[in-house]
């Protein structure tokens, strides 16, 4: 415990920079310690002083440029009198000596301000083209710090790293061998190309994006019932695989319904606007949920594209960034035209049919219409019978207390409707009333027009059944009437005193003028991916970097504001952002540039000197080992075991899940029934995403519930992960299949164990490793031979059948050896 302060103390003692940089050195100190009371939020500002703007600070004589000793600011920092001292005691903030020295030096150097780094347009620093640009900028920084870059990782590690990073799947030993033995100079680059062309690339990229847009199969609040959105997930996969330019990718999601060249594909993408949390709770209030949904959307756009913590401005102007409440609600107003019921069940969504399905559905609809026509044509034949029946008809008595039950019975309802009409003379009835009487007659006379009616019913049933099977997805449609958006004082939806606002872009960011009109969602989408916008490209590249190096360049990918981190290597982030925009938002190109760099290919082991100088590897003298994301932990085990079904896309799937895990869900009460067949062995990103009770194996490995936009997953290391890998039937079954495959290899135990080792880790075991694994096999074999019943029990875990004719004790023993491999830290880690 004494170690952590030591680490912190080391960084606090770093020497002062020669030239103090406002954004890098000063703003973080002011933001953390001063802006809360002397920043953008006017309602909370103390002494009318704001320190986030130079002119305001000078006007209030907060400091005298060049004269730190005479400046109020530095005097206040060291004031003896607790009444005078800043920050005040009740803020629980305290500047250390280095921070105070930075501020004094900054004042001494003239107290210059600069626009917050992320709000200035990124400028391309001088650097060579392509991957060499990345390396140049990384190495400039390493030189500054006096750090030597580490060597390139071995080829096996590189192959494994690339497969896991770009596909989320491990390589086969054969693929690794092929790469290791390929001595041509472009072997690595060709491997990259092969992976970028794989259909699994889109699946891997989708996982990160689906977190950001909070994609889930259920509505989130209260009953957490299902909704139709999985075609949106497939649209994301498809978009990455087709390398849809990121600007188009953005336009389709935010405004796919407004694009002149949109079409069905863009509409599916516009499902983005429908991914928010909704409720079906009785007693929920429309305006309450209108407000929740507006704020939900603003937070999501803020996180996904802008890297801004807009949510802070729901109740007050942002404390640290220039986002005002007006900005917040004006941004929300862009979505006021999106059709979205305030409360209740969502609509079924747009049909996403194949051309064949469309044709078949049209056929079935035509058949239904024909049957109806035939029935209509037959009605006149009833006329005589109807008249005779009516002459004799007397209404049956309906006891009053059964009236309610009767209302639910369609025949009874029809009777109730028909009886008053029957009291009217036949020639005084309108066409609708005549039809009611006729239908009532038919309900009492099942034999009449029996064939015609049966034909219609059958045709309708066939049509409906076929239609029910066609995928549907929620898309953006225009609301009949756009919602009124007002600034809600303190975020209180019951307070309607706030001003009504129209859609407008955040005032502090560069933007076009919309002369004489209010911008709409398409304008918003176009602005998000315009050259003027200084944020989107940086945010996207920052996230991509995190995916490929473990930590983002500005370490909090959800916040590029004042409380985020000025990137230690801003030229690199800016170079990537400009390159991305100049390259027409071509994402695969950027992946290619990064993974072909030397920086990406370095070993992930640290020398003591590197660890000492750069414990968190921010300067990138090495790579960083990263535990696989939840979905890929699953995919890896299934792939290694040979069970993985690599089909891309389709409805969400339900793997094994503990009984009664959903017992606290209601409206309705639900039983979880796991899938049979190939659906059982699909990739993790297809697992049914139940927001309030996410699949516990995914949850254990930090998959987010996706109730809110998630720009960075935590990466925990908890006992539940061990329990999942050891005991979850998915992993037990994988071990069983993997063990069976190993036992079926040729050779003795060591050769077969070596085969398994290589499948799991794509490397050979050393003698000690092999001995440890052999011991497991030998001991279990003896134990199961003594207790074959136990072996049979183990082999029954999971749906996939055990190989016929094999010795159960042998298979069970191999299951254990395989299980040990699937549980290794190295197996679930990308080095």
């Amino acid at each position: 415990m004494t170690l952590l302060p030591l680490i912190l103390a080391a960084s606090a003692a770093a020497p002062l920079p020669e030239k103090v940089d406002f954004n890098r050195d000063v703003r973080p100190i002011l933001s953390e310690n001063c802006f809360y009371c002397h920043g953008p939020d006017a309602s909370h500002r103390k002494a009318k002083l704001r320190l986030d703007l130079r002119d305001s600070a000078l006007a209030k004589e907060a400091f005298i440029p060049g004269k730190p000793e005479e400046s109020e600011l530095s005097k206040r920092l060291d004031a003896e009198d607790p009444e005078e001292r800043m920050p005040p005691a009740d803020s629980h903030k305290k500047l250390d000596e280095r921070q105070k020295a930075v501020l004094r030096k900054w004042i001494a150097q003239g107290a210059e301000y600069r626009q917050h780094w992320a709000y200035e347009a990124p400028v391309r620093p001088a650097a060579p083209a392509d991957s060499a640009g990345v390396d140049h900028l990384v190495e400039v920084r390493l030189k500054e710090l006096g750090l030597a870059p580490g060597p390139e990782a071995d080829r096996r590690t590189l192959a494994r790293r690339l497969h896991l990073d770009l596909l989320g799947l491990p390589p086969t030993p054969e693929a690794v061998d092929e790469f290791v033995n390929d001595r041509s100079p472009d072997a690595y680059a060709r491997l990259v190309e092969r992976l970028l062309a794989s259909p699994h690339y889109g699946e891997r990229m989708a996982v990160t994006w689906l977190d950001v847009v909070r994609f889930a199969d259920t509505i989130g609040y209260h009953s957490d019932t299902p909704r139709n959105v999985w075609p949106y997930r497939d649209w994301v996969i498809r978009s990455f695989n087709q390398n849809k330019p990121f600007d188009r990718f953005t336009l389709e999601q935010v405004a796919g319904d407004l694009l002149p060249d949109g079409g069905r594909e863009a509409l599916i993408g516009s499902g983005f606007n429908r991914l928010l949390l909704t409720t079906e709770e009785g007693g929920a209030q429309a305006k309450d949920y209108q407000q929740r949904m507006l704020t939900d959307r603003v937070r999501a756009v803020g996180a996904a594209w802008l890297g801004q913590t807009t949510g802070c401005a729901q109740c007050h102007d942002h404390k640290f960034d220039p986002i005002t409440m007006r900005d917040f609600y004006s941004l929300g107003a862009f979505f006021a035209d999106v059709h979205e019921p305030d409360i209740g069940r969502r609509e079924e969504g747009m049909l996403v049919s194949t051309p064949e399905q469309e044709a078949r559905l049209a056929e079935l609809a035509a058949a239904t219409a024909a049957a109806r026509k035939k029935l209509d044509a037959a009605y006149p034949s009833l006329a005589a019978a109807l008249t005779a029946w009516e002459a004799e008809f007397t209404a049956p008595e309906t006891p009053a207390k059964k009236a309610k039950a009767k209302r639910k019975d369609p025949d009874a309802a029809l009777a109730a409707k028909a009886q008053p009409i029957l009291k009217k003379p036949a020639d005084k009835r309108n066409a609708g009333e005549k039809a009611v009487v006729r239908d009532y007659y038919l309900s009492l006379h099942p034999e009449a027009l029996k064939q015609e009616r049966a034909d219609l019913a059958a045709a309708q049933k066939a049509h409906d059944a076929f239609r029910a099977e066609i995928p549907k997805t929620l898309v953006t449609a225009k609301a009949a009437q756009a919602r009124t958006v007002r600034i809600l004082p303190r975020g209180n939806w019951m307070d309607e005193s706030g001003e009504i606002v129209k859609a407008a872009l955040p005032h502090y960011l560069p933007q076009p003028k919309f002369e004489g009109r209010t911008p709409n969602r398409l304008d918003l989408a176009q602005w998000l991916v315009s050259r003027e916008n200084p944020l989107t490209a940086r945010v996207t590249m920052n996230r991509l970097w995190m995916q490929l190096f473990g930590t983002a360049l500005s370490k909090n990918p959800g916040d590029l504001g004042a409380q985020g981190e000025p990137p230690p290597n801003q030229p690199l982030l800016d170079w990537l952002a400009v390159e991305f925009m100049d390259g027409k938002w071509d994402l695969k190109r950027m992946v290619r540039i990064i993974v072909n760099s030397r920086a990406y290919r370095r070993v992930s082991t640290a020398t003591p000197a590197q660890r000492e100088a750069d414990p968190y590897n921010r300067a990138l003298a090495r790579q960083t080992p990263v535990r696989l994301d939840a979905e890929f932990v699953r995919d890896n085990a299934l792939a290694v075991s040979g069970l993985l079904v690599t089909k891309v896309g389709g409805p969400s799937v339900k793997p094994y899940q503990p009984d009664r895990y959903w017992e606290n869900l209601n409206f309705p009460v639900r039983d979880y029934v796991h899938d049979q067949g190939e659906a059982q062995h699909r990739r993790g990103l297809y697992v049914w995403w139940q927001r309030t009770f996410l699949h516990p194996s995914l949850l254990a490995f930090d998959a987010p519930s996706r109730e809110e936009s998630c720009t960075e997953r935590t990466r925990s290391n908890i006992p539940q992960q061990a329990l999942v890998l050891l005991n979850d039937p998915t992993y037990v079954e994988a071990a069983r299949a993997f063990g069976a495959a190993a036992s079926a290899q040729s050779g003795g135990d060591d050769a077969r164990l070596g085969w398994a080792w290589k499948r799991a880790l794509q490397r050979e075991p050393d003698a000690e490793e092999l001995a440890t694994l052999r011991k497991v096999l030998v001991e279990r074999r003896a134990a199961y031979r003594a207790d074959p019943e136990a072996a049979k029990k183990l082999l029954q875990t999971g749906l996939s059948p055990a190989p016929k004719g094999a010795d159960p004790a042998e298979l069970a023993a191999w299951t254990h050896a395989a299980r040990v491999l699937l549980n290794l830290h190295e197996t679930v880690t990308r080095d």
């Binding site: 170690l3 952590l4 629980h92 989130g220 949390l277 409720t279 709770e281 007693g283 209030q285 309450d288 929740r292 704020t295 802070c312 404390k319 959800g558 504001g561 004042a562 082991t605 660890r611 080992p625 503990p658 009984d659 009664r660 017992e663 606290n664 209601n666 409206f667 309030t692 194996s697 519930s705 109730e707 809110e708 935590t714 925990s716 290391n717 006992p719 539940q720 061990a722 329990l723 999942v724 050891l726 005991n727 979850d728 490793e769 440890t772 694994l773 497991v776 001991e779 279990r780 134990a783 029990k793 183990l794 875990t797 254990h816 040990v820 549980n823 290794l824 830290h825 880690t829 080095d831």
Partner: protein, 473 residues
């Protein structure tokens, strides 16, 4: 640090030494900061001496009616079936009574004075009444939310936006836990018999933006008590242990080569998981309890009842678990109040008394904080549009009680107006409740923060809140 935690720490250190591959300072730091359940929290020492070592929070999910249980309103009885004066309700939030005619609904059950304190409570709570000289009753609690899901979120996390840490996570983050082989934050649920109760979401015990190891772990009354706790069929404890040993031996070897501090943590977590496979079933097995104890609580082993969960709560407390939260579902009486409320009351009344009595017997009452709340209260107005009479959700007034941990005994505070519509005297908020609970745990809620979205996020949010010092002896 408690002796138990110190022992645990020393054991870890010895283990690391045994690993002998120079894992070094970084590995140890990783182990201490992200590894084990039995580890100190970030607040060591606490801001001030703690009165409570642990919390047992009894959540009556659905919103029990304070007007039948704790808040006696004779005037409401007089006004029964008359229009609710508009002066009370104008411009206020309503849930299922939106657009309905608002009529007063008198209390459906009698009230009695209990104990030396003469505390007025329902005839439905004779057992809680019998220990009312040990409890502290607040009749003036309010909340911001009026629908179940947001109200639970607010009660647990201090915010109506998903993604914030629940209080149990905050507390284990701050204080760590003394439990050797169990999680620091444990959740148990039970359901009233009969109707269709409101759902509750796992986010109610989520660690939000705090590290995941602080998330609440649900103990289940059937199946594996902890998810995936049981070894696969056909795998003996010995075989499981051998596999874990092999995994750890191979991981240890790897650690010697790559110096990744996460490996040391993973090794420790496999050990912990293996120990949990024995310790949790041992915890759940109440057959060793004195039959008189089970009789006191009024439960049978393994019946999954609220009373059984109270026995488990006491056993968890004895094992050093920091934060124990029980949910008992089905208090949402929009209808059938008269028929259903007595059943719910009966399911919890005796067990609550037993928990207090049992903790006193064991000398643990003084340092255990017991809290009894719903997620909101219920209206003094009648609800008749869902069948036989009930009451709607209400956020202007509810009653909660607390006990133990240096709280005043037989104490009551706060009052609502004469019709029980709104808290008027000593109005308390959920944030005040949180601040008070943290205070009793030795934590100053203003100084207990975690950086999230640039803010020093606090359980008690940004609005001022206060420690309810008047409740503290």
């Amino acid at each position: 640090m408690s002796p138990e935690a110190r022992t645990a720490l020393l054991r870890r250190r010895a283990f690391l030494k045994g690993a002998g591959r120079g894992l070094g300072a970084a590995a140890l730091a990783s182990l201490l900061t992200r590894g084990l359940a039995a580890a100190p929290g970030t607040l060591s020492p606490t801001h001030h001496p703690a009165r409570a070592k642990r919390v047992i929070w009894l959540t009556m999910a659905g919103g029990p009616s304070q007007l039948e249980l704790f808040d006696h309103k004779p005037k409401l009885a007089e006004m029964h079936d008359q229009g609710m004066p508009e002066s009370f309700t104008k411009g206020q939030q309503l849930a299922q009574l939106q657009g309905q005619k608002l009529l007063c609904q008198g209390p459906q059950f009698k009230f009695t004075r209990y104990g030396r304190a003469g505390m007025e409570m329902s005839e439905l709570l004779p057992h809680i009444g019998s220990v009312c000289d040990d409890i502290c009753l607040v009749r003036s609690m309010t909340t911001d939310a009026i629908n179940h899901d947001p109200a639970h979120m607010f009660m647990n996390t201090g915010s109506q936006i998903a993604g914030r840490p629940s209080m149990g996570s905050w507390v284990t983050y701050g204080l760590g836990t003394e439990a050797e082989d169990l999680p620091g934050f444990v959740v148990l649920t039970s359901t009233g018999k009969g109707r269709s109760p409101q759902p509750i979401a796992a986010r109610q015990w989520s660690s939000g933006f705090l590290p995941s190891r602080h998330q609440g772990v649900q103990l289940r009354s059937s199946g594996d008590p902890v998810l995936y706790l049981g070894s696969p069929a056909g795998v003996s404890r010995e075989a499981q242990g051998a596999d874990v040993a092999a995994v750890n031996a191979l991981n240890r070897r790897r650690a010697g080569e790559v110096d990744d501090p996460e490996i040391a943590t993973r090794i420790a977590q496999y050990e912990m998981a293996f120990r949990m496979q024995a310790s949790v079933p041992d915890l759940m097995d109440v057959r060793g309890e004195d039959p008189r104890t089970l009789e006191l609580y009024g439960c049978q082993p393994g019946d999954g009842s609220f009373a059984s969960n109270c026995v488990l709560a006491r056993r968890l407390a004895q094992r050093g678990v920091r934060f124990i939260q029980l949910y008992h579902r089905d208090w949402d009486h929009h209808s059938l109040l008269k028929e259903e409320l007595p059943l719910r009351a009966k399911e919890v009344d005796r067990a609550c008394m037993a928990l207090i009595t049992d903790l006193k017997r064991l000398g643990m009452f003084e340092d255990t904080l017991i809290v009894w709340t719903g997620e909101f209260g219920r209206t003094p107005m009648k609800q008749g549009n869902k069948g036989p009479v009930g009451r709607d959700h209400h956020n202007k007034a509810m009653s909660v009680w607390m006990a133990g941990a240096g709280l005043r005994r037989g104490f009551q505070t706060g009052a609502t107006d004469e019709l029980g519509y709104a808290a008027v005297d000593n109005v308390c908020t959920v944030h005040d409740l949180h601040a008070t609970m943290l205070h009793l745990l030795g934590v100053d809620h203003e100084r207990f923060t975690f950086k999230f979205q640039g803010l020093d996020a606090k359980l008690t949010g940004v609005e001022p809140s206060r420690v309810l010092k008047e409740l503290i002896a």
